[in-house]
Symmetry: C2
Subunit: 341 residues, 2 copies
Amino acid sequence: MKPLKITIDVVAQKAGVSKTTVSRILNGNYAHTSEKTRNRVLQVMKELDYRPNALAKGLKSLRTDVIGILLSNLKNPFWATVLEGVEDACRASGYNLMICNSDEDPELEFQAIRQLQMRQVDGVVMNPTMRNPNLYRKLVEDAYPLVVMNRRVDDLGAQSVVVDNVKGASLAVEHLLRCGKRRPAVCYYANPGVTTWQDRVEGYRLAMKSHGYGEHDLRVVEAEQSPNAVKHAVLELMKKHPDTDAVFSTNNMMTLEVIEALKELGLRIPADVAVLGYDDTVWAKHMDPPLTTVRQPGYEMGKIAANLLIQSIRDGGHPAADPVVLQPELVIRRSCGWQSS
Amino acid sequence: MKPLKITIDVVAQKAGVSKTTVSRILNGNYAHTSEKTRNRVLQVMKELDYRPNALAKGLKSLRTDVIGILLSNLKNPFWATVLEGVEDACRASGYNLMICNSDEDPELEFQAIRQLQMRQVDGVVMNPTMRNPNLYRKLVEDAYPLVVMNRRVDDLGAQSVVVDNVKGASLAVEHLLRCGKRRPAVCYYANPGVTTWQDRVEGYRLAMKSHGYGEHDLRVVEAEQSPNAVKHAVLELMKKHPDTDAVFSTNNMMTLEVIEALKELGLRIPADVAVLGYDDTVWAKHMDPPLTTVRQPGYEMGKIAANLLIQSIRDGGHPAADPVVLQPELVIRRSCGWQSS
DNA sequence: TTGAAAGCGCTAACAC
DNA sequence: GTGTTAGCGCTTTCAA
């Protein structure tokens, strides 16, 4: 005797109704169904522990209640936070989540989107590598439900949620200056096209200029995203400009190396050189000294992105709204010294 | 004129063959197909940018090439590492990944499994909350493809991959002793049923005893998983046993609080009290002092778990193999002082 | 209020 | 080597 799969048919049969009726009840389509049958069917479902096959449902209804998330980096804990936000939003709305990782590789990004589409996910939220402009454009042309997070893809017309990075950097620079620092530098990863870092450098530039600094007063250090590259870059910086009295680091992993370099040089933080980092990670407050950082609302970004997507799936079509821009926030600890006022 | 969905039928039609033929070619079933037709069909697929509907395929073939991952905590960066391993393994084998988070809640864990099953995933890899024994048992009774990670569920008969936590703790204690410490304490989270922490405490106990310590020499401090609980517990410990000269912290987040507490007391690390942490996180080597830790192969755990699962899906039935046990490794830095030999 | 029947897009016997 | 056909388990007109 074989185990017999519990399908809608066996429920219908056992309840003595047609599968149409079962289907209606399954979908809360109670309008045309008597309470008596409804209860009987519900009862049978419970007894049989009936689990509707989502594949069959999706095939017919053209909706799977699954969305895809496409990240570009799982190594940075920031993304775990974002993921948590997305996951929570999905669960709250009855969606499931399919996860892909492009690892900043445009080819993998391309493949991931393809896979997600073949799997008929209802939409995708992604942090784009920025290296597949045609792909992004195609998606919005096809009116594919899409929300872009974290990085700006200009003139795309897709829904997006980002954090104001220019603002974040301004907050940082302003704070450094208020703490009496006069020669702040900024450090960022070389990754052409990625707006987050561009914007943070731009924010540094703007804030500096608004305080009377000229172009040649700026100290902008670029580093590859490879082991010790940041450390070397900072060592270099301090050799070339020994009077540098603050480093604004635009990435959370980067900050760790910046501090390492400074300590190696025997410099005291913040007395000799202040350090201001990006992302208020779990470890920031436990560093020595406790790190002053620009906090990004990662969880919120994920949650909002997912909710926007779900909403646009449900309402159909999304009127290419303005980007949602979230505000960063300065978390002041001890790595920049004391504000003078 | 409507956009016309590209199905196997339109490919077949355009190529002038039946959909059977297209299906065969799609699945690399080249045995019974002439090279000529094959090329023509492949060509047409390309031209049409044909994307087979995975729902239809799965409905018919009873395999989706999707597996589920069920985590219990996204906040701890350790799990991002594990996730990365799982993701890589999936990509390499042509699987997609559906992700769920139980957040240590048995009810959510139950729901997640249900969802994954309705979605017809081919199998699940999970870090169990340990609070749903019946659920776990049911799954293996039903011969549902399942791999359990990280935590031991005794006598379950499911495939599993874990790290040797007793060993990890021994490594830690031995090192502390070698560094000349004489009164080491251990700190762990109160979470009944979770074997990881139990095993680490057990490892501490065993190692201590093998060095001639008696039961009353052990200093085992338990803390709730809530803000500052660890800090208070450590403060308490140092008050009660001021001669404690080392703390072995069994969790990466916990370690941060341990250090905070110690510093607050004006104790020097490692001169006064050594600290040895669990999990070699990205930040460990940048702490002050750089942290000596027990490294767990998280990425490997994820990758191996996923590969085991995929293999057992492909081979059908899994002969309830012995658990794969991975070895932890001591990463020596400066937070425990110097070894005496 | 309920049911019959026609698919959704694919796979896999089985025939030719 | 290729095609015919009968479903997979559900939703959804349309009719009763």
